[in-house]
């Protein structure tokens, strides 16, 4: 039953990874940019929520402030840096976002020092309340909440993309920017919205990270790797795939940790590489853009 518990924990962890990764997935699906600073931006959001919480705001209220602010930052980031880097060449977005990550991490270190911070003290009993499902299986209420939020978030994005005019424009731009412009879609604005969503959700993930455990200025790199692994395992550009990938990652990590606590990270990385290898051997990877709303359907 211990193993079942690990799987349950892994699934719940997958919910967190889904929240973390959906922004990365969206940015890649729409703009074909892999934002290496994504994890760093999540941590930035976490620090914002932390600062506001220290000043007495409930973390949830802080989120209500930080998330829109990060959305605006996303818009600005797109217009300021990402748009230019898109035009310069295929390597440039990678280099620019990596530079941004370095800047972010070290600025955060400068301001907050190396200490790990946490939002745990500010969320009251939610930090340790749990449901006991059986003698071995325990589900923390916070983790379940995060999972539920993940599903709601992905569902919301799904509906947004499938039903709303802006969502349609986004899908069109994701598939063919040039033609989208020719039918009247302002592609730069669409990209801006995608970036805004990406950064908002990253900040939310950061807040969740702070509630679940702790974070430091340099946590962003680690979180980026998790997000990327979740996205790739689930299939690049597939929204629900991000949840599936997150779950696979979370389960691998927890099962690995059950075998040996030191293997938590390694297990995840190894499974990721194994999935990559299998996919490469079977299909031949060609990272196509476009946003897939349903698992397995190509946009």
């Amino acid at each position: 039953m211990i193993w079942v518990n690990q799987i349950v924990q892994g699934v719940l962890l997958g919910g967190y990874y889904a929240v973390l990764a959906c922004g990365l997935s969206l940015m890649f699906g729409v703009m074909r940019i892999i934002n290496l600073a994504h994890g760093g931006l999540a941590v930035l959001g976490a620090f914002f929520v932390f600062v506001l919480s220290k000043h007495g705001l409930s973390p949830w209220v802080a989120c209500a402030v930080v998330l829109p602010a990060m959305g605006v930052a996303g818009w600005a980031l797109q217009r300021g840096i990402l748009e230019r880097s898109l035009r310069a060449g295929p390597l440039t977005p990678l280099l620019a976002t990596f530079g941004l990550l370095i800047v972010l991490e070290n600025l955060l270190f400068e301001r907050f020092g190396a200490d790990e911070r946490s939002l745990f003290p500010y969320i009251g009993t939610l930090g340790y309340d749990s449901w006991t499902i059986s003698s071995d299986i325990i589900a923390a209420k916070l983790y379940v909440l995060i999972f539920v939020v993940a599903v709601v978030l992905l569902g919301g994005l799904h509906l947004f993309l499938a039903r709303t005019p802006l969502g349609r424009s986004m899908r069109a731009t994701a598939e063919d920017r040039d033609t989208a412009e020719l039918v009247g879609v302002n592609s730069r604005a669409v990209y801006g919205v995608a970036a805004a969503i990406a950064l908002s959700t990253a900040a939310l993930a950061g807040a969740f990270l702070g509630m679940r455990s702790s974070f430091g200025p340099y946590s962003g790199s680690q979180e980026l790797l998790f997000a990327f692994e979740a996205v790739v395992i689930g299939g690049l550009g597939s929204l629900w795939g991000t949840l599936a990938g997150g779950i696979v990652l979370g389960v691998s990590q927890n099962v690995g940790a059950q075998l040996d606590p030191q293997w938590f990270l390694l297990a995840g990385h190894v499974v990721f590489l194994a999935v990559l290898m299998t996919r490469v051997l079977l299909v031949g990877l060609g990272a196509r853009g476009g946003i897939r709303i349903a698992l397995g359907r190509q946009a």
Binding site: I34, I81, L95, F98, G99, N106, L107
Partner: protein
């Protein structure tokens, strides 16, 4: 066109012949540094040579093979790791340096079979994950002290002055050998293939260029080079703390050097390494602000001066110090100017 008869294709210009000659003379002169100049200078130049290697290798991967790797620190760490393990087994420490680098670099061969099928961002982060896996595996090895690491105590057989000199000559030798290898590679058929791959992979494949093989050669070379740099770094710093060898900040340095110098040029990484070295000297003690500056500079270069310092010079004046490309001789001066200013008449 009656001009055709006078046009020929060549590789060397007077400038490149002169500068290559100067470079050779410089290398010979540099060999005398440990005996002629101060210990401090010797140490600093050793560090510079290591930077040159790192910059040249990252540039080869990204600028010539189009592969931006955020995980070369994997080889940097593996090179140092292999060296320590070999030294622990009793291999002569300086032989271990080279052997360790070669062994670590050899890991690139099987690695390439998976990783080279990835493109763009997938390859970049995929390599980062590989680096993390290497780190994770290395710290499981108790014989190098796990997370705390250990030291290359085998170096203590040699006195400080000898160490310094040997380190210096190894670094100089490694840098020269790797640069010469790169130079030869770029001038060869593989080099032309790489340029074609970089410009348009599908078009290159359609004319028979063996894309994977071309990328593979560079990938392995870069692996060996970065591993050698790691071994050398170990020789100069003596301690092996896995976290600092496998840290992603090494990629940050490499990216900065390659971008600042000029991606895809041969001279660029050398310039970039010098710039980085100077910045390190000046600001290395300023704590993290200097990293912030480095990151911001990388962003700035990427967006505003993507061709880097040397690239800008090369573009403007059309000069190359080392002849890795081809030149048309016999056309009037307007035809040799940068592409944006002219167009070809059919």
């Amino acid at each position: 066109m009656n001009q055709r008869n006078a046009i020929s294709v060549g590789r060397w210009t007077r400038l490149s012949a002169i500068s290559t000659g100067c470079a050779l003379a410089l290398v010979v002169a540099l060999a005398f540094v440990p005996v002629a100049l101060s210990a401090n200078t010797t140490d600093r130049l050793t560090t510079l040579f290591i930077y040159v290697i790192l910059a040249a290798m990252w540039n080869a991967l990204a600028g010539y093979a189009g592969l931006a790797s955020v995980g070369q620190q994997a080889f940097f760490g593996l090179g140092a790791y292999a060296t320590i393990r070999l030294a622990q087994q009793g291999v002569n420490v300086y032989a271990a340096l080279v052997l360790g680098a070669l062994l670590a670099g050899a890991v690139a061969v099987p690695m390439s079979m998976l990783m080279l099928r990835l493109r763009g961002g997938e390859f970049a982060i995929g390599m980062w994950v590989v680096a993390e896996v290497c780190f994770g595996l290395v710290i499981l090895d108790k014989s190098v002290g796990g997370l705390t690491g250990t030291s290359l105590i085998a170096l203590n057989k040699y006195n400080a002055d000898d160490q310094r000199a040997y380190n210096y000559w190894m670094a100089l030798g490694a840098a020269v050998v790797l640069l010469v290898l790169l130079f030869v590679l770029l001038r060869s058929r593989t080099g032309a293939s790489l340029q074609a791959i970089r410009d348009d992979e599908e078009a290159a494949a359609s004319v028979g260029v063996r894309v994977l093989a071309g990328k593979g050669v560079i990938f392995v070379l870069a692996g060996v080079g970065c591993a050698m740099a790691g071994s050398l770094w170990l020789a100069t710093s003596i301690t092996f703390q896995p976290k600092s060898y496998f840290g992603v900040e090494w990629t940050a340095y490499m990216i900065f050097m390659a971008l600042a110098g000029g991606l895809g040029t041969f001279e660029g990484p050398i310039i970039g390494a010098i710039v980085f070295f100077v910045i390190q000297e000046q600001f290395g003690d300023s704590g993290v602000w200097y990293l912030v500056g480095l990151g911001a500079a990388a962003v700035g270069f990427a967006l505003l001066l993507p061709q880097g310092l040397w690239g800008a010079v090369e573009g403007r004046f059309g000069i190359q110090l080392f002849p890795v490309g081809y030149r048309l001789r016999g056309l009037d001066s307007t035809a040799t100017r940068a592409p944006s200013e002219t167009y070809a008449e059919s």
